[in-house]
Symmetry: C2
Subunit: 232 residues, 2 copies
DNA sequence: CGCAGCCTTGACAAATGTCAACAAACGTGG
DNA sequence: CCACGTTTGTTGACATTTGTCAAGGCTGCG
């Protein structure tokens, strides 16, 4: 793969502390690919042949069962996905597709496992990464089980506001259809949920959100760091 | 702590491969405690001072928000819990309480992190463990988002049947109130869901379940290894 | 310009939760 | 071992939440 991508990959927490020659080993076997939007990258159930890294663009992780499907998460640059499947040498639990034009690095899973076995720093970095992911999923599960869809939307809006800088007006990070799926509801329900937040001063104009009354919305949403903070 | 417990702990995947003196280091700082049933062990939000290991009995991991609460998982012997919080030196995301009289080992988190930093085998074991837990949570999330409560119950029954040996009659692993919470529904809804499985030959007598028609139930439940297999 | 996909809305249906009542099971203290 | 009180499970009636289906408007893109 082109060496130009090395530095940004090397800077990732996952690869920052490992020995240089081990990093080179990984990069030698890796290659970069450019994908158009809306392309399937992997399908759940397939063997986990590659660890993926999103360099640019974005990727949707989703799952299907019995004709239904749901968005599980979005991967944005620069980060990896399907690390756990790679480590356990197990089939993917989620499918992945590009949301937009994306550059993606593919590192053969066997290389990752081989280096993982000989590089303690790399192993530790993987632990840290996995522990964080694990906690993120637990938070999502709490969100799903403890809140109604209206409450989930209200808290999502507050999280997104924070991510966007904290101002009263900001944009949604993806189309509503997908947001609905991420939040575990139908597009119709999401549409009505936005209306349901009107009493708390939430105004929606296409993909543009304005929070009229911050305190009202927060009083309703009751955001909680143990569910909504994605840094800890 | 009493040395009698060492061998069974040592046999856990998490500790099996590590250097003996490192294992001794962990055990020196650890202590065993006997708890009665229904005792709170930890509360979400607290700093993660100890890695816990259930030697006997069982522990409920649950979470709360805004007056509601939900069971997230059950920990049975012999295994650890709150590993991720220990690793990340972050607050617990879940609370824990004993379901019955339980023996529990507590290892100071700082010891775990210290040994983790110097013992590559231990670090690798933690990776494997965390990757498995991560995948288990993803499966639960798919279960929650892709299935109705009736479907979740049907698949739970099939899983539990397998765990109990595969025969047509078997017992539930815990009280229905908690099962309802684990499956993400109310006790009333669970009660009716059992009735809703009557057409598929499911007969409930207290805590005793009999599957009259295996094929009918499976045709309805559509169990899927990427959701229901807890080994991969 | 015209098509395709997304978003919204209305009407309706299904799933799930709430509240209340009561029976059954359980545990404790006598 | 029993009596009592508490908890759990069940059931009915009802409310709320969420999903489904159908239609129409809007937008973006070829």
């Amino acid at each position: 793969m082109p060496q130009s991508a090395y530095p940004e990959i090397r800077k990732l927490d996952l690869f920052a502390a490992m020995a240089e020659d081990h990093f080179q080993t990984l990069m030698r076997g890796a290659y970069v690919q450019n994908f158009p939007a809306h392309i399937d990258l992997i399908a759940e159930g397939e063997p986990s042949d590659f660890l993926h890294i999103v360099l640019s663009g974005s990727v949707d992780l989703f799952a299907q069962w019995n004709g239904r499907d749901t968005s599980m998460a979005t991967v944005r640059p620069i980060s990896t996905f399907i690390l756990a499947a790679t480590i356990r040498e197990a089939p993917y639990l989620m499918s992945a597709r590009t949301l937009e034009k994306s550059r993606i690095v593919l590192i053969p899973s066997q290389d990752v496992r081989a280096v993982f076995d000989i590089d303690a720093n790399f192993a530790r970095a993987i632990v840290t990464e996995l522990a964080q992911r694990y906690r993120a999923v637990i938070k999502t599960q709490k969100d799903l089980k403890l809140r109604t869809s209206l409450e989930r939307l209200a808290n999502y809006i507050l999280r997104q506001q924070k991510r966007a800088g904290g101002g009263p007006t900001f944009g949604l990070e993806f189309e509503k259809r997908r947001l609905a799926s991420v939040l575990g509801m139908t597009p119709e329900n999401l549409s009505r949920a936005f209306k349901g937040l009107d009493p708390y001063g939430v105004v929606v104009d296409g993909t543009r959100i304005t929070i009229g009354s911050q305190t009202d919305l927060e009083r309703f949403a009751k955001p909680n760091p143990l569910i909504d903070d994605f840094t800890t």
